[in-house]
């Protein structure tokens, strides 16, 4: 397990993951930490995605104080002036998969959050249009969840006629 350098930044736990500073936040701390980062010069949201850790074997390489949840929203920010990148990792529990939307900070998060909703079923509170983006609107299930296996769509057999 890699050595984690820990500290505090924007009022939350900061640590280093694969040579990048990453903030570990809960869904409650998320929006405030993101606002602080934006006011500090992180002017662009580069990426927003999620990981479902349902079947991840063993313990995750996370600082001890982080309360690991099933879903982790992964955010990449960039400060163009200092050319610095910052990661955010939001722990989202499985029983209440809701996190605040970053639309009011970076409107570029709109489609990315829709994609995470589509693929993982994580809702973003305050999003202007929380709908599916890649899958059909009436699709049931969230394909990138680990319990949504590739061969899950049942094969339609013709019904058995009469019991013999």
């Amino acid at each position: 397990m890699p050595e984690l350098l820990e500290g505090v930044r924007y009022g939350v736990l900061a640590s280093e993951v694969s040579s990048q500073v990453v903030l570990f936040v809960t869904a409650e701390e998320y929006f405030e930490a993101a606002t602080a980062a934006r006011n500090d010069g992180f002017d662009c949201l580069i990426d927003l995605t999620a990981v479902d850790y349902l079947s991840y074997p063993g313990a995750r390489a996370r600082p001890a104080s982080v309360d690991c949840q099933r879903f982790e929203v992964v955010v990449q920010l960039i400060n163009h002036r200092t050319r610095e990148r910052l990661g955010l990792r939001v722990q989202v529990p499985a029983d209440e998969p809701v996190a605040p939307s970053l639309f009011d900070l970076w409107p570029g998060s709109e489609n990315l959050e829709r994609e995470v909703f589509d693929m993982f079923g994580i809702e973003f509170a305050g999003h202007p249009d929380m709908s599916r983006v890649l899958m059909p609107e009436d699709w049931v299930g969230h394909p990138l969840r680990k319990d949504y296996s590739v061969g899950e769509i049942p094969v339609q057999f013709s019904p058995q006629s009469e019991p013999r």
């Binding site: 694969s18 949201l45 479902d52 991840y56 409107p107 489609n111």
Partner: protein, 422 residues
Amino acid sequence: MSAERVMRRGGDSAVLRLSEAEANRIGADAADPDDDERVMLNMGPAHPSTHGVLRLMLELEGETVLRSKPVVGYLHTGMEKQGENLTYLQGCTNVTRMDYASPLFSELAFSLTTEKLLGVEVPERATWIRMLMCELNRISSHLLFLATNGIDLGAVSMMIYGWREREEVLRFFEKVTGLRMNHNYIRVGGVAADLPDGWRDDLRELLDLIGPRLDEYDVLMTGQPIWRERLQGVGAINADEALALSATGPLLRSTGYAWDLRRDDPYLAYDEVDFDVIVGTYGDCYDRYAIRLNEIRESMKIVEQVIEKMPGGDYRLQDKKITPPPRARIDESMEALIHHFKIFTEGFKVPRGEAYCAVESPRGELGVYIVSDGTGTPYRMRVRPPSFINIQTLPHLMSGGLIADGVAIISSVDPVLGEVDR
């Protein structure tokens, strides 16, 4: 400058936030007085100017676009999900099919991320071959843009010219990789094969051919009053808005914002070659056209330098745990046969961890984020798709313009739908 325009939520936003079901109900209710002049129009998914299967829901007043919504997903095949079931060796064949106009960049980002997780460094020659192939791919991708941008605006001869020159670049690709597209050439640990004999001559011939042809395009298009009239001032966006919408690549640079990962976050050996970052001024369709045209010239400059500076050595890592042994070794060594078998059946194991690497693709920042659980397949493989994110700007660029300009705008954003939908 401000990004206020793109932050709006309600009815005055340029983005039409309307579901399929709601759109179907419009006009269905006879009691609903439909006395305004607004018309809902569906454009695509099978429309020649939408570059594949992009569909737009447009709200029009006369010929003016008020609000619009890009509807995507028609090519969605779950490639990120597939990535979780393919080994790292197969992973490149998967990602190369995303952005089919510039497949080598996805392969590169995937390989760089995996190598970061493995903690290995590829030989210098492999790095330079990767850089050479990527710049040639940038040329072919931008030539394709010039061709499609031309036909979208009625410059039919430009389509033929762009396609003709692109074919010359693809011919070189075929010679090196065996395929014109979806090469699976850049792999973890290096590249699949060394450059063929006489590659320098082939490339010099290619550069000598394309250089004067670009000057012809200048005569045909750049200085043309009709061309300029059609593009200048159309689909303008400022730097703050582009940054707020997470736009990258030529779309961001057209606003005058000089940001290019090759210069600002150098990967491969871009800090050892000399090139300029091309920026625009007005952020309109004309700037985006001019940027791509001139980026071809910059890429040619890089290719020329690579021809001069190409180092010797191995074209891939000789680590039997990551790259297959040379074919000749298999006949004489039992270990080589075992390694070959192991790599092609169960692949190699990647240490636990996570990594993100980004490259400057012709469309913007293309990044790959991999979470590894220590097995031979990624636990999660995410591709940051530049086209998917760039098409968010479409409603803002099109709002208030004519529907005919919409075609120019879609073309100037240059989305590749294979990568939008993945």
